[in-house]
Subunit: 190 residues, 2 copies
DNA sequence: TTATTAAGTGACACTAATGTCACTTTCGAT
DNA sequence: ATCGAAAGTGACATTAGTGTCACTTAATAA
């Protein structure tokens, strides 16, 4: 039919992810991306009209991947089992945090494809939130989670902890178990 | 002596802060700043050679302000009293988080002033860290803080919590007391 | 009043990125 | 072999930001 592509969508999204995690939304340019992929800038315009469109497609791809993996987690165990599973999972997927933070940075766009993607992304976001909400509900039903603390705070805490910078290079296992301990029973001895 | 200035350093740093918090380091330009301050771009070059220099000066100013205020806190009470005081303080200064995150984003510069500021900033950072470390030590001495959890994790958790986005608009007082509760005694009932 | 001096301006040359498009390449189907 | 179609290129015009500088403006000390 036509000639072979020099790079797959996966290549492109992978490079995009690295660049965005390293330098943020504004620093991302077609010029840099093209040079990373060893293609001409012009060829990227064959698939994406501009940076907003490319990034919104990338975010769709990432969110999809994350939600699929999350859905594949074993939901049969009791709350404690799921808590351990989910914390570990979130730390494995720790860059999802930097990814979702990009969403609100996409400016109000002129092109339909971008706006469609943005609204789909917020649906994904709600979807994800509801899944985690279900998990918190389970904890409340089993009387493990304190009832007087709002769900938004609980989820916020859990998600925010994955972004704590481990400046001092504490080993991953100790790092995660310490955080799990604080989330469960706090910093205090008593 | 000479004509009056149209804007003070404070004006300039305030505008810079707003712009950086809203859109990040890369999106900051002299053009936008000048138009916010209603002056010509050229006049800003009278004081700062370029964006890196301006932002490094801004960060110095912010860190100084933060450390002064922190030093003014009452350090006489027991751990519990100081814990409450410090958490409240950190929430009041919640944008310090976005500010310190800018520091590593300043590229390796050619000008001496920028490099000097960067090294002073890392001194400030160490200074701040040591202050908080002292606070954690107190908690350990009073046997309030769990001894087996590394200080880096404890401080990381405390600092990260101020950045949790309160999407659902939970009232500030409830928000802070919930977070304090989790940090102290965890999410779990038992 | 006027000389001095710092503050501020806007035009100029430069750089880096954008978006477009006619053109070339390479594949497979006919 | 050759044609159609998608992939890829590089040159061009455009836009947005940078850094510089001769010049104008306005305060004030003499």
């Amino acid at each position: 039919m036509a000639r072979e592509r020099k790079y797959t969508d996966e290549d492109l999204f992978h490079a995009t992810k690295q660049m965005i995690i390293a330098d943020g939304y504004e620093a991302f340019t077609f010029s840099k991306l093209a040079s990373v992929l060893n293609v001409s800038r012009g060829s990227i315009y064959k698939y994406y009209e501009n940076k907003d469109e490319l990034i919104s497609e990338f975010l769709m791809y990432e969110m999809n991947r994350f939600l699929k993996k999350f859905n594949d987690l074993d939901k049969s165990g009791d709350f404690q089992t799921q808590f351990d599973l989910i914390i570990t999972f979130i730390f494995e997927q720790s860059n999802i945090h930097q990814v979702v933070e990009i969403i609100p940075q996409i400016p109000i766009s002129t092109t339909k494809r971008v706006e469609d993607n943005k609204s789909k992304l917020s649906e994904y976001y709600v979807d994800m939130y509801e899944q985690f909400q279900g998990f918190i509900e389970l904890g409340r039903k089993e009387n493990v989670i304190k009832n007087h603390i709002p769900t938004a705070v609980l989820l916020g805490m859990i998600f925010q902890t994955i972004a704590i910078p481990n400046h001092f290079g504490i080993p991953q296992a100790e790092w995660i178990s310490s955080i799990k301990e604080i989330l469960s029973h706090g910093m205090f001895e008593k």
